[in-house]
């Protein structure tokens, strides 16, 4: 039997929601659950509503659902916003204090939300109050677990460490209460607390004490949800931004420049803080915080010219600033990897929210015509391997690579197998480690395959010139029209080479094929895969083609894969069906249905499942716009 339980904790930004969820997820993973977790937060430092969903299962899960099984509210706002999503027989854990809170007085709630809520409650004949909300939940057979924080807090021995943020207390309490109802052994909680605060023994002690009190409180007062004894042994519990960073390290990336921007910063800080081993020496990535994103990409290019694998990470606004320099890298055939963490645009948009809105921009970024690779990862695990692939492609084809990821991937967490380092190769293409001194070296030599041997700054006999102008084989400026054609052809021709040479499995993941087939790209693969599984349970089969190589577009391979497919369904987190456009451009074939979402919240498998079911039931419209999420 499939166990599938979504636990959500919410509270104001800065109240430790993140830490709580991490403890919860780690403890559950240690106890054998498969995990998928996801974080949502405002563009704010302290006070706005944030929440974290952790989905537990005994089968692999790759997304969140639209439902909550256990809702934990650090504050009233969490209950107000999310109670509606708690399923029948689900649980709401809250401090009974919040019954006093007046919704109108919560400054962080959007007017829009309040208006909708009022309507919702009045339709149900309930008060516009926390009480009214909890009543509707109760009507739906949701179990209410009010707690008396005071009761627990008064039992806590005098605070041992001064200045200890009291919110942090609350999150430990809530997470311990929750874990108790999952019947996990207390030792696994105290172990994780010990691991997280390993450098602060006082904090550990204190937290463990509190945790124990809360755990006991739950054992005494609440019913147990799950008695599952799971024997899975997961290797890792990892977040997307960590996965990418680890991929970069393995790939041999030695230089990363960046300018702070959500959600790319986390990866950079990770890289900056980690030391690892290279030939028995402690090694690090040189991470440079630059003055802006223009500088970030230019520094990365400068670094690459010295033969270093270099990279920069950013999101939309930063990428917008990089496109001029991207063209320079293009014309000079410089390998660099730009990790593009998409978020909701346009402009500043919803800066801490998810989106897949930059595909066509990435493909066409920069004036003039030059080659780039645009490559998209669909899961946290893929992020690791793809980061390495991106560096290899970049050096083999001497081409900038844009690695498309997004906020959803960056800040989600998943249990998975240990990365398989055995399959990884470092392919440096035509990088020269020494240069034949008998020939005058030509950086842009015309060769049969259109790719020239690559020297690097500082190398003996390998002197070259680069310029943003059109150039001759040495890299000196030329305006000769026929040389121009030669050089343009040389640069653009590698797109064909790429399609020809990249293993098909790296171009597309052909999850399934069927008369009805989904096409998608990037992180939306997660909820799609889960939705497909849900459909299988009701005996509906649907195919899924996840396109990873988006530029150059693997037209022939897609075409041949889809030749027997009758209905094509494009699923993307954007409004303008960007993959759909690319598909139509290359296949000259229309798309039958679109499932789109652009609220800044990732799709849930539930939403996709329902939309797909509508397609099969012939109740679907051509475009289905998803809205779930707070």
């Amino acid at each position: 039997m499939v166990f599938d339980h979504t636990w959500m904790i919410g509270g104001p930004q800065g109240s430790g929601v993140d830490t709580a969820a991490n403890i919860f997820a780690t403890v559950c993973a240690l106890n054998g659950y498969k995990i998928f977790g996801k974080r949502e937060y405002y563009s704010n430092i302290k006070g706005e509503h944030s929440y974290y969903e952790v989905r537990l299962s005994n089968v692999k899960v790759n997304s969140t659902t639209s439902n909550i099984n256990t809702l934990v509210g650090i504050d009233a706002e969490t209950i107000i916003r999310h109670a509606e999503d708690v399923v029948s027989k689900g649980i709401i854990i809250f401090n009974n204090d919040i019954l006093k809170v007046k919704i109108d007085e919560i400054k962080t709630m959007d007017d829009y939300f309040n208006i909708r809520l009022k309507k919702y409650l009045s339709n149900k004949n309930k008060d516009f109050s926390v009480h009214g909300i909890l009543e509707t939940a109760k009507d739906r057979k949701v179990l209410l677990y009010p707690i008396s924080l005071l009761d627990i807090l008064t039992k806590i021995p005098k605070l041992t460490c001064r200045n200890y943020n009291s919110y942090r207390l609350l999150n430990i309490i809530y997470v311990s209460l929750s874990l108790a109802i999952f019947n996990v052994p207390f030792t696994s909680i105290s172990d994780v607390i010990g691991k997280i605060f390993y450098s602060k023994p006082n904090v550990i002690k204190h937290n463990v004490e509190i945790s124990k009190l809360a755990y006991q409180y739950a054992v005494d007062n609440f019913k147990i949800i799950s008695n599952l004894k799971l024997n899975f042994k997961h290797d890792m519990l990892i977040k997307g931004h960590e996965s990418i960073a680890l991929g970069k390290i393995i790939a041999g990336c030695k230089f990363q420049s960046y300018y702070p921007i959500t959600p790319a910063t986390d990866e950079c800080l990770y890289l900056e803080s980690k030391k690892f081993i290279n030939k028995n020496m402690v090694d690090e990535v040189t991470v440079i915080q630059s003055e802006d994103e223009i500088s970030s990409i230019c520094m990365a290019i400068g670094s690459s010219l010295t033969g270093v694998r270099s990279s920069t990470s950013t999101s939309g606004p930063g990428f917008s600033l990089m496109v001029e320099s991207l063209g320079w890298a293009g014309i000079n055939e410089v390998p660099i990897v730009i990790t593009l963490y998409q978020r909701s645009g346009p402009s500043t948009g919803l800066p801490t929210r998810h989106g897949q809105e930059d595909l066509l921009f990435a493909i066409h970024a920069g004036h003039g015509e030059f080659s780039t690779i645009v490559y998209a990862s669909g899961s946290i695990e893929e992020c690791f391997y793809d980061a390495i692939t991106c560096f290899n492609l970049s050096e083999i084809y001497q081409i900038p690579v844009i690695h498309m990821v997004d906020k959803f991937l960056a800040s989600s967490i998943i249990t998975c197998n240990k990365f398989d380092l055995g399959v990884i190769k470092i392919m440096r293409g035509k990088l020269l480690h020494d240069v034949n001194k008998d020939f005058k070296y030509k950086r842009f030599e015309i060769t049969k395959d259109g790719i020239s041997p690559r020297s690097k700054l500082g190398q003996h006999n390998g002197i070259f010139w680069n310029t943003g102008d059109e150039s001759d084989e040495y890299g000196h400026i030329t305006e000769d029209p026929l040389c121009r054609i030669q050089m343009m052809d040389k640069r653009i021709s590698r797109l064909d080479l790429i399609i020809k040479n990249i293993p098909k499995s790296q171009q597309i993941v052909l999850h399934k094929l069927n008369e009805y087939c989904i096409i998608s790209w990037g992180s939306t693969a997660g909820p799609i895969l889960d939705a497909i599984k849900m459909l299988e349970r009701i005996n509906i089969k649907v195919g899924f083609l996840q396109i990873k190589l988006l530029q150059p577009f693997p037209t022939e391979y897609v075409k041949s894969s889809l030749c027997d497919v009758r209905i094509i369904i494009d699923i993307e987190s954007n409004k303008t069906c960007q993959l759909g456009k690319l598909f139509k451009q290359n296949l000259h074939r229309d798309i039958d249905y679109y499932i789109l979402k652009y609220t800044g919240r990732p799709m849930t498998c539930t939403e996709i499942y329902r939309s797909l079911k509508n397609i099969f039931n012939k109740t679907a419209t051509k475009e289905m716009i998803l809205t779930h999420g707070k």
Binding site: M236, I249, K254, K275, N278, I288, I294
Partner: protein, 318 residues
């Protein structure tokens, strides 16, 4: 002398206008490299866009002609990655102090060991003579519709305020002097700035006109050399805080000096502020020993040499 530094020359046709000050700067760079006996392949000239931006194509070292305003970021990325190469960055005043001004300031804060030379002609040469940020307000250049509406900024002051640790001014037609400045700037461990007054006979020959002589020879009389005075530009390791402060005040005053003759030479040299290299080495365990360009990343079987087992432990469930 002509042939001494020919090994630093390329055969590329030089299409600067006759009489352009850029020639003097180009020659001085080549002479300085020759004097310093720096190996061609261990030198990289980065440039921005403009007439000045073409410089690297005439020098037989690695030459990276980048995009408008971004020469410093490119150069810094390369120098951080391979500290062994001598990095010279060149570019126009529009390039460095107009579109690139933000990078100028940021570079000052880092103090990476690069020599940056601005070809200061008061105009955007390659786009036909619009006023650049160093042109004084009220001056009308040859190709402009009206007198310059914006005030100028003084590159020397800006460099000092930004944190450059070697700041000097040269004159493009006094090549011997300029060469020596370049040598000092290359030798200096940290970020050097050279503001080179570069007449643009096509669009801005005011430097000549000021003296109404119309000849290059004479116009060098509008300059005097700081080293010929008892001016002290150096802040030394053993200067205490107050001495430093007092010296810096004098340096500032010198950079803002009134008078008919323009000082050339070294305005400021700070030997205390650590270079970025040293700073990186402070926070990274082996930066000095294995900087990025010298890290080996794979073995002969193309396997990675990075060992992330400790990092994997952190995310492992055990």
């Amino acid at each position: 002398m002509v042939n001494n530094f020919s090994k630093y020359r390329t055969n590329t046709h030089n299409d600067w206008c006759a009489g352009c000050g850029d020639f003097g700067i180009l020659n001085s760079i080549q002479m300085a490299l020759y004097d310093l006996k720096i190996k061609n392949h261990e030198t990289v000239i980065f440039s921005g866009i403009g007439c000045s931006g073409k410089t690297p194509h005439f020098i037989n070292t690695y030459g990276i002609h980048t995009i408008h305003g971004r020469v410093l970021p490119f150069a810094q990325g390369a120098k951080i990655s391979n500290p062994k190469i001598t990095v010279i960055a060149v570019g126009g005043d529009g390039d460095g102090l107009g579109i690139g001004a933000g990078h100028f300031i940021a570079a000052g804060r880092r103090n990476i060991d690069i020599s940056y030379i601005i070809f200061n002609n008061g105009v955007y040469g390659l786009t036909k003579g619009q006023p650049s940020p160093t042109l004084r307000r009220g001056i009308k250049t040859k190709n402009s519709i009206h007198a310059n509406i914006n005030c100028n900024i003084d590159p020397i002051e800006l460099a000092i305020v930004s944190g450059f640790t070697f700041v000097a001014r040269g004159y493009s037609f006094d090549m011997k002097h300029l060469k020596n400045l370049m040598i000092s700037s290359i030798m200096h461990k940290g970020l050097s700035f050279l503001d080179v007054i570069q007449p643009c006979p096509t669009y801005n020959d005011m430097i000549f006109n000021e003296n109404n002589t119309g000849s290059n020879e004479h116009s060098s009389q509008s300059y005097y050399k700081l080293e010929d005075t008892n001016y002290d530009p150096v802040i030394n390791k053993d200067d205490d805080e107050l001495t430093q402060h007092k010296k810096l005040n004098k340096i500032f005053m010198k950079s803002r000096e009134l008078g008919h003759k323009i000082p050339i030479g070294v305005f400021y040299q700070n030997n205390i502020i650590p270079s970025y290299h040293d700073r990186l080495n402070d926070i990274m365990i082996n930066y000095d020993m294995i900087p990025p360009a010298f890290s080996q990343i794979s073995d002969q079987n193309n396997n990675t040499t990075a060992d992330i087992s400790k990092l994997l432990d952190e995310v492992s469930l055990k």
